[in-house]
């Protein structure tokens, strides 16, 4: 008897909640969001906290054009095909006005292709591949984070100043690693024709056999090393490298290693003096970033990772685009987004009309060890707009519409 009454009231509650939701729907504006929450929780958890903070701030300030902003979030399990299923559900069943998110490059591309086919606005958050805005770019897709090319250009600027002439590369053997090495080599050889590339190692992604790799690189005796590995591979590489003295008296330039997601797990093993791109949240002293940092720490009692910035800025940018477009029509959203300037914790950013890439930049600096933790020192913010090829070149890279 008791139980049936309980069930009854639970059922009623669900129905009432459903009614309330559908009643509210008219004053809502829905954004769809997809990311690899179950596969890559280390990156997507801070990211989710970032965008949740943004949603809270936006709604506290009155929402978007008077409507409450709602983000419907889906997991893609790290599979492009599942990301498309999720995108389809968001567009067809949840009636979202735009898609955002994605972390892995292949998933970003899959959703971007879906967006192009179904004519839906898509703001890619984290994928790094250059293809998403250039070789396989389309008019429905925008991208927030600085691309592979931009990060390579920022690193090359520093790397070219090094005296080292003999270089070796270590990169995971898939599209991201291959293109990172290719761009770095190309830009570097343009600036420093005197450089020799003495060795390249291509460990399989996620399965590096670090000892032999370190040994092989050491045998080539390079003066400097480019590293593109990250995550657990990076931890293994650094540990073996430290033990075997690979990094002693050698310059190392490394993609992404300064991001707290990758730097923090290294703890007391953090190698010193690597030139890296990253996010030194502890040493950024700008009013925009202070405001973000305070709000984030107050809400979560935790420090932000780069993913937090990306998640936060994705939804902030999406809201700005919606506010300017004053419409759900994807064509109007594109028109609003092209050339749109948005404030961010890293300062003002612009979504370029020519290739839909945002000019969000990255911090560059050197790794150091402090109290048993890795940090970035000598940091400087590099604006994304300074590290993109000329408009003529970009126009050649992007397919004609």
């Amino acid at each position: 008897m008791r139980r049936s009454r309980y069930l009854l009231s639970a059922g009623l509650a669900i129905i009432v909640a459903g009614l309330a939701q559908s009643a509210m729907a008219a004053d809502e504006i829905k954004i769809g969001e997809i990311n690899s929450y179950s596969l890559l929780p280390a990156f997507t958890e801070p990211y989710r906290k970032g965008w949740q903070l943004a949603v809270e701030e936006i709604n506290a300030a009155g929402g978007v054009n008077g409507k409450k902003l709602v983000v419907v979030s889906k997991d893609d399990g790290g599979k492009p095909a599942d990301a498309q299923t999720a995108a389809n559900e968001l567009v067809s069943s949840e009636n979202v006005v735009m898609l955002t998110g994605t972390f892995l490059s292949n998933i970003g591309l899959a959703v971007s292709d879906f967006a192009n086919q179904k004519k839906v606005f898509f703001l890619a958050a984290e994928p790094l591949t250059d293809a998403i805005t250039w070789a396989k770019g389309n008019r429905y897709t925008f991208r927030l984070r600085p691309s592979n090319y931009m990060q390579a250009a920022m690193l090359v600027e520093q790397a070219a100043k090094l005296p080292a002439k003999r270089w070796a590369t270590i990169a995971p053997n898939y599209e991201y690693g291959q293109s990172a090495v290719a761009i770095f080599k190309k830009l570097m050889s343009e600036k420093r024709p005197d450089i020799q590339w003495v060795d390249e190692q291509w460990p399989p992604q996620g399965k590096i056999d670090a000892g032999p790799v370190v040994q092989a690189v050491a045998a080539a005796n390079p003066e400097a090393i480019l590293n593109v590995t990250f995550g657990a591979d990076l931890v293994k590489l650094v540990r073996e490298g430290n033990t075997r003295g690979l990094f002693k008296d050698r310059a190392v330039v490394s993609f992404l290693t300064g991001e707290p997601e990758y730097l923090d797990p290294l703890k007391e093993e953090t190698p010193e003096g690597w030139i890296v791109t990253g996010y030194p949240w502890y040493s950024i002293k700008t009013p925009e970033h202070d405001a973000f940092l305070k709000a984030y720490q107050a809400k979560y009692n935790d420090y932000p990772r780069l993913g937090s910035i990306v998640g936060y800025q994705t939804i902030k940018s999406a809201a700005a685009i919606l506010a300017k477009a004053k419409s759900d029509d994807p064509e109007k959203l594109i028109a609003a987004a092209e050339g749109l300037s948005v404030p961010s914790p890293f300062g003002e950013i612009v979504f370029r009309k020519i290739d839909h890439q945002s000019t969000l930049g990255a911090y560059i600096g050197k790794t150091a060890l402090k109290d048993g933790k890795g940090i970035m020192v000598d940091t400087a913010y590099k604006k994304g707009s300074d590290y993109l090829p000329s408009d003529d070149e970009v126009a050649k890279l992007r397919p004609k519409e």
Binding site: E45, P80, N106, L109, G211, Q215, A232, P265
Partner: protein, 626 residues
């Protein structure tokens, strides 16, 4: 010279931990015949628990004690799993235990994130083994030296255990002939439990010993499990020495492979495994398995074609399914199309596995080849959709033709592993050959033409193809070819005696299954509009296996139910929760315990119980004859 020697030592160090994990798996398989998919999960748990313990207790005793204690805790968990879960399903159809351990693996992957958090963890270095020793200008980490000593030491202990104790004698006897051991009055229950505990202990120890070198994270299990399968297959199942030699071989290949072929190190081990299996079908130290006594096909009710009213029922179900566009939206139709495509894919594996008795662990290769075939034809040759759909699967056929020829020379787990090796090779080529396949970034823009573009049209196309495929496979099952195939499955010797060329029949079945999988892949490419290497990957192959087992491996068309239930559930769960793996894994484990014959299998059993003339007597008589 010093460099090559140090490279060799490094390889040996990697071999040690690989050997620990592999020997555990090998012992478990040898005695219980369980392909323990959860072995990687136990390895990972060992690392996580050791991390916690070594952080808690300082000093050398804290560290080493923590490592051993972690392995003991995980071994206790293993005992629990064996007693609560696996004991119930030893008599289930072959490979069904794989399903249970797969479910466990899924659960553990989510559980470690819940317990230990999502970030990668960095364990302490081993006290006393911090630095490196200088060897003619090359640095050799002292921890590597420790591992190099440990490997042979464990091998020696295991050897003594097996050769010099009564328990070891029983284990060896059970590995050779477990029915005989049972007949001699040995308590199999506790033998199996103890073997499982030892195997899990070794896996967890292998994991725990990784913490000074590796990062502890929630994907460790997948990284090791495939390598371990490779090792035990190269070495020969059930052979500890073989596992050791193969672990050294694989690790040295990695160590030296990167010097010679830096870009293909990922497939090198699979190439070697394929080569070993082709030359020595039972691995380096393995022995030919004794012919199985119980054959799966005979323990169930004999298969029969559908009766008239059942056919009408199936037609009605199809008509109902075809009416989905009347009520469902675009999303429902896309999900419906995806399910239909997976029905085709799973049915093709079922045909090979249940009818042919050939359990493939790499069936996704042919699915993916079909999809890539379509992508090449449509994107590069610019052919129209109909032509691409018809010709694309031919790439699956071609792949199945080549790989199938070698695979059917083997049987049982060796067959499964060779198919896995071929699938991994194909996957690696697609993943790394960026110039042709686009690598990880795949091939985009393979969308259907106008006539099939609307979700309802594509849905009808998919279920039409699924119905055709299932009917065609059923007809094949009850054709003379199907009978010959089943004869080869149930008794290769008798089949040969009446003039059936078993290998050729099996090869043909392999090619048929590969082609049908290619059809599913071709449709999948058009459904998603793009194709990525993960369509060739292990996880898709495992999905297909799960669908077949879930539906019931001993039924003719239970796989249709299995595919629909599994695919629907996984799409729904991924959409609803981030913990989809935990829930799905739990569901699979539950199904395994409650419905050990699969969903359709249990329905069939209930149906047959009502029919009094079920030939139970006949079945039991054949069962004991051989």
């Amino acid at each position: 010279m010093a460099f090559y020697f140090v490279q060799f030592l490094t390889g040996l160090a990697s071999a040690a931990s690989l050997f620990l994990v592999a020997s555990g798996l090998s012992i478990i398989f040898g005695v219980t015949r369980i392909v323990n998919f959860a072995h990687g999960a136990f390895y990972m748990l060992g690392a996580y628990i050791a991390f916690t313990l070594t952080e808690q207790f300082s000093g050398a005793i804290g560290f080493w004690g923590g490592i051993v204690f972690a392995a003991l805790i995980v071994a206790a968990l293993g005992v629990l799993v064996e007693m609560v879960l696996l004991r119930r399903i030893y008599h289930a159809p072959e490979l069904f235990q794989l399903l249970a351990t797969f479910g466990l693996t899924l659960m553990v992957e989510d559980l470690v994130v819940l317990i230990w958090g999502p970030s990668d963890l960095l364990g302490r270095r081993a006290p006393g083994f911090w630095g490196a020793v200088d060897f003619f200008g090359q640095n050799v980490p002292t921890y590597d030296l420790f591992l190099i000593v440990l490997g042979p030491l464990v091998l020696g202990i295991l050897w003594l255990l097996f050769q010099r104790t009564r328990w070891g004698v029983l284990v060896r006897a059970a590995t050779q002939d477990r029915d005989m051991v049972a007949a001699l009055g040995v308590n199999q229950k506790w033998l199996f439990t103890s073997v499982f505990a030892v195997g899990v202990f070794l896996a967890a120890l292998g994991g725990a010993l990784q913490i000074p070198r590796d990062a502890v994270h929630h994907a460790m299990d997948l990284r090791i499990i495939v390598d371990v399968f490779v090792v035990i297959v190269i070495g020969g199942l059930g052979s500890i020495i073989g596992a050791f030699v193969a672990a050294v071989l694989v690790s040295e290949l990695n160590a030296f492979g990167i010097l010679v072929f830096p870009k293909i190190s990922i497939i090198l081990v699979f190439l070697v495994m394929a080569a070993v299996l082709i030359i020595r079908p039972w691995g380096l130290f393995g022995k030919q398995e004794a012919p199985a006594r119980r054959t799966p096909g005979l323990t169930v009710n004999p298969w029969r074609p559908l009766m008239l009213n059942e056919r009408l029922g199936a037609m009605a179900a199809l008509v109902l399914a075809a009416a989905l566009p009347l009520i469902g939206g675009n999303y429902a139709l896309a999900v419906g199309s995806e399910i239909a495509i997976f029905v085709i894919f799973a049915a093709s594996l079922h045909f090979m596995m249940s009818v042919g008795g050939l359990a493939s662990f790499g069936h996704a290769a042919y699915f993916g080849l079909g999809a890539y075939g379509v992508a090449f034809l449509a994107k590069m040759a610019g052919l129209p959709m109909i032509v691409s759909l018809l010709l694309g699967p031919l790439l699956g056929l071609l792949g199945a033709g080549v790989f199938g020829f070698f695979s059917v020379q083997l049987s049982g787990v060796y067959f499964a592993m060779l198919t896995l090796a071929f699938a991994q090779i194909v996957w690696s080529v697609a993943f790394q050959w960026v110039a042709v396949t686009g690598g990880d970034n795949g091939i985009l823009g393979v969308w259907p033409e106008q006539w099939a573009a609307s979700p309802s049209h594509f849905y009808w196309l998919s279920i039409g193809a699924a119905a055709l495929a299932v009917v065609a496979l059923r007809i094949t099952v009850f054709s003379p070819f199907g009978f010959a195939l089943r004869a080869t499955r149930d008794s290769p010797l008798r089949g040969e005696a009446i003039g059936i060329d078993g290998k050729r029949i099996q090869w043909t079945a392999f090619v048929i299954a590969g082609t049908v999988a290619g059809v599913a892949g071709a449709l999948f490419a058009y459904l998603k509009g793009s194709i990525f290497p993960d369509s060739l990957g292990i996880s898709l192959s495992v999905d297909a296996l799960v669908m077949v087992l879930l539906g019931g491996v001993e039924t003719v068309s239970g796989v249709v139910v299995g595919a629909i239930v599994y695919k629907m559930l996984s799409i729904w769960l991924v959409s609803q929760t981030d913990l989809s793996k935990l829930v799905l894994g739990g569901f699979i484990v539950l199904i395994v315990v409650v419905l050990p014959k699969g969903i359709a299998g249990i329905l069939e059993t209930i149906g047959n119980r009502r029919r009094p003339e079920a030939p139970a007597l006949l079945a039991s008589q054949i069962d004991t004859a051989e």
